[in-house]
C-alpha cells in the first residue's frame, strides 16, 4: 500500500470484511434451528432478516476485490478492524428486533461485548429472552472467542495473500502449522473436541442439580460456549447465582480455564507433548500470578470477615478471581456486593488479575500471561547483567512450545502492548469518573472492559451515559484486537484524510 490509500486499497479491505459478513450470515443458522425447534416463529423471522442482511452485504462487498489485487500487511490489519465493526453492526440486528434493548447502541454494545468475549450486557429482562436469541448471544461469543476472522479463514478465505495479516490483526500471532489456513482449522478442531466434552459434562451436571433435561441441555450448551470462549454471558440475569450449585460452578471452571490456555499449547498437549503443560512460560506465569493475586484477594476478604468458611471462600472468592483472571466474567455474587462487601484490597487484587488476563493466542483477553512472564524474565536478565561481570554470558531465552530467544526487540514489543493496555485502562477509568462514578468503581469496571472480562461492579447498565457506552465499546474492541489493527486503521484514516 502506498502512503495515500487508493481505490484499490479500499476495495481489498471491503472485500475481506464482506467475507466475514458472509461467515456471520452462515452462523445465523444456529439460532434459526433453535427457533424452529422451539416454535419461536417471530424470532425466526428476525434471524432471517439478519442472515439476509449479512449475506447480501457480504456478497456485495466480496465482489469488490480487484482482479489484480496484492493484499499486504496493512490491508489485513485494517480489514480485521473494519470486519469487527461490521460484525458488530450486523449482529445487533436480532437484538434490535427483539425489543429487549433500549436503543441500537445498546444492541451494538452487547454484540461487541459478545464478539470480544467480554460478557457485559445492557439487555432488559434477560430472564424472558427467547431461546433462539439466547443461543445467538452465546454463539457470537463462541465465534468471537475463536476469532471472527479465524471463522472466515477456515471456511471462506483460501489462505492466500493477506490471510496471515488478517489472523495477526485479530491478536493471534501463534501459528500451529506453517499454513495459517491449517492453523485456523486446527483451532476449530480443538474447540470442537472440547465442545463435545464440555456440553455433555454441563448437561449431566445440570440434570443432577435439578434442571429439566431439555433446559439442562440448553443451559449446558450456552454456559459451555460462554466458558470456553471466556465470555461470561449467562442465560439468566443472576448469572451463576441462578444455579446455586458448587458442582456446576466447579465444572465450568475447568472449561473456562481450558479456554484461557493458548491454542498452540492445547495443540501441543493434545498431540503428545504433555510435559509442555509444566514447562510453558504461560502456564507457569498464569499459575504463579494466580497464587499471588488470589492470596491478596483472600487476605482482603478474610480481613473484612466477608466469607467466614472455606466453602464460601472457594465459591465466592476463588470463583471470582479465577473467573476474572481468565477474563471469563461469570459471577457468583451480585455486582454491588463487590462495591459494598469486598473492600479495597480485594478489589485492587481483582483489578490486577483482570488486567493480566489469560494466555496469548487463546480466547482470553488482558495483557496476557506470556507478556507478563517475558517481561519478568527480562527484568531478571537485566538484574543478572548488573550483578555479573561485563564479560559474563548468559542465555536470554524462554520456553513456549519451543525454546525462544528473548531479545531486546521482543521485550520492547511486549512492553509496548503492556503500556497500551495500562494506558487504555487509565483512559476508561477517567471516562468512568467523568461520568460520575466513584474512582474505585470506575477503575474496576475499566479493568473489566480493558481485559474483556465481564465482571461488573454495577457501572455497566442500560442507564449509564451514552458517551460511556461508546468509550467501553471502543475499549473492548481495541483490547480484543490488541491494538495493532486499531493503530493500523487509525493510520489508514489519517493518511486518507491528509490526501484530501
Amino acid at each position: 500500500m502506498r502512503n495515500h490509500p487508493r481505490k484499490e486499497d479500499y476495495l481489498i479491505i471491503l472485500s475481506y470484511a464482506g467475507r466475514v459478513a458472509i461467515g456471520l450470515g452462515i452462523v445465523c443458522v444456529a439460532p434459526m434451528l433453535v427457533a424452529i425447534a422451539e416454535g419461536e416463529w417471530s424470532v425466526l423471522v428476525d434471524f432471517i432478516i439478519c442472515a439476509g442482511a449479512c449475506l447480501l452485504s457480504g456478497a456485495l462487498l466480496s465482489m469488490c476485490m480487484p482482479d489484480d489485487a496484492h493484499p499486504g500487511w496493512l490491508h489485513g490489519m485494517v480489514a480485521t478492524a473494519v470486519s469487527w465493526l461490521l460484525a458488530m453492526v450486523l449482529a445487533a440486528i436480532p437484538y434490535a428486533l427483539s425489543g429487549h434493548y433500549g436503543s441500537y447502541l445498546d444492541c451494538m454494545f452487547d454484540a461487541m461485548s459478545g464478539f470480544t468475549t467480554t460478557g457485559l450486557t445492557l439487555v432488559l429482562d434477560l430472564d424472558h429472552l427467547s431461546m433462539a436469541l439466547n443461543t445467538w448471544r452465546h454463539v457470537i461469543t463462541f465465534v468471537g472467542g475463536q476469532g471472527v476472522v479465524v471463522l472466515a479463514l477456515s471456511f471462506l478465505i483460501d489462505g492466500s495473500a493477506g490471510s496471515y495479516e488478517l489472523y495477526v490483526g485479530e491478536g493471534k500471532d501463534e501459528r500451529l502449522f506453517p499454513s495459517v489456513l491449517h492453523t485456523a482449522k486446527a483451532i476449530w478442531k480443538i474447540s470442537a473436541a472440547y465442545f463435545v466434552v464440555g456440553v455433555v459434562a454441563l448437561w449431566v451436571t445440570g440434570i443432577a442439580i435439578g434442571l429439566p433435561v431439555k433446559a439442562a441441555f440448553y443451559h449446558g450448551m450456552w454456559i459451555y460456549m460462554a466458558a470456553w470462549s471466556t465470555g461470561g454471558f449467562a442465560p439468566m440475569s443472576q448469572n451463576f447465582l441462578y444455579y446455586h450449585s458448587a458442582a456446576y460452578e466447579m465444572v465450568s471452571v475447568v472449561f473456562f480455564v481450558a479456554g484461557s490456555l493458548n491454542f498452540a499449547l492445547h495443540h501441543a498437549v493434545l498431540t503428545g507433548s504433555r510435559r509442555e503443560m509444566i514447562k510453558n512460560i504461560e502456564t507457569i506465569s498464569f499459575f504463579a500470578s494466580f497464587v499471588i493475586l488470589f492470596s491478596i484477594v483472600a487476605a482482603g476478604l478474610t480481613r473484612g470477615g466477608v466469607y467466614p468458611d472455606l466453602v464460601a471462600m472457594m465459591r465466592k472468592g476463588f470463583f471470582q478471581v479465577i473467573s476474572g483472571q481468565t477474563t471469563t466474567g461469570f459471577m457468583t455474587i451480585s455486582a454491588r456486593q463487590f462495591a459494598l462487601e469486598w473492600g479495597d484490597l480485594a478489589l485492587c487484587g481483582m483489578c490486577v488479575a483482570m488486567m493480566i488476563g489469560g494466555s496469548a493466542g487463546s480466547t482470553a483477553g488482558g495483557i496476557k500471561g506470556l507478556r507478563v512472564g517475558a517481561l519478568l524474565l527480562a527484568v531478571r536478565n537485566d538484574g543478572r547483567r548488573l550483578l555479573l561481570p561485563p564479560s559474563a554470558v548468559f542465555k536470554k531465552k524462554m520456553h513456549m512450545i519451543e525454546d525462544r530467544y528473548l531479545g531486546d526487540e521482543q521485550v520492547r514489543a511486549y512492553a509496548l502492548i503492556t503500556v497500551l493496555y495500562v494506558g487504555m485502562w487509565v483512559f476508561a477509568t477517567l471516562a468512568g469518573v467523568a461520568a460520575g462514578y466513584p474512582a474505585l468503581d470506575a477503575a474496576f469496571e475499566a479493568a473489566s472492559v480493558t481485559g474483556n472480562v465481564g465482571l461488573s461492579i454495577g457501572v455497566t447498565a442500560p442507564a449509564m451515559p451514552i458517551f460511556l457506552k461508546i468509550v467501553y465499546i471502543l475499549v473492548i474492541w481495541a483490547g480484543r484486537l490488541e491494538f495493532m489493527a486499531i493503530l493500523a486503521l487509525g493510520g489508514f484514516i489519517v493518511s486518507a484524510v491528509r490526501r484530501r
Partner: protein
C-alpha cells in the same frame, strides 16, 4: 509412555486426545488445590 502421533502434527487418535485433556484437567485441578490451601491459611490467620 508415548502414544502414536500424526507425523503432520494433526490431532491424533482418541487415546492421545483423552490423555492430553486429562493432563490439562490435572493442571486446572492444581488451581483448586492451591485455592483451598490459600483459603485455609487466610482463615487460620484471621481466626
Amino acid at each position: 509412555m508415548r502414544l502414536r502421533t500424526d507425523r503432520r502434527g494433526r490431532l491424533a487418535g482418541f487415546g492421545e486426545l483423552a490423555l492430553g485433556m486429562a493432563v490439562e484437567i490435572a493442571y486446572i485441578g492444581a488451581f483448586f488445590v492451591v485455592g483451598i490451601v490459600v483459603c485455609l491459611v487466610c482463615l487460620a490467620f484471621h481466626a
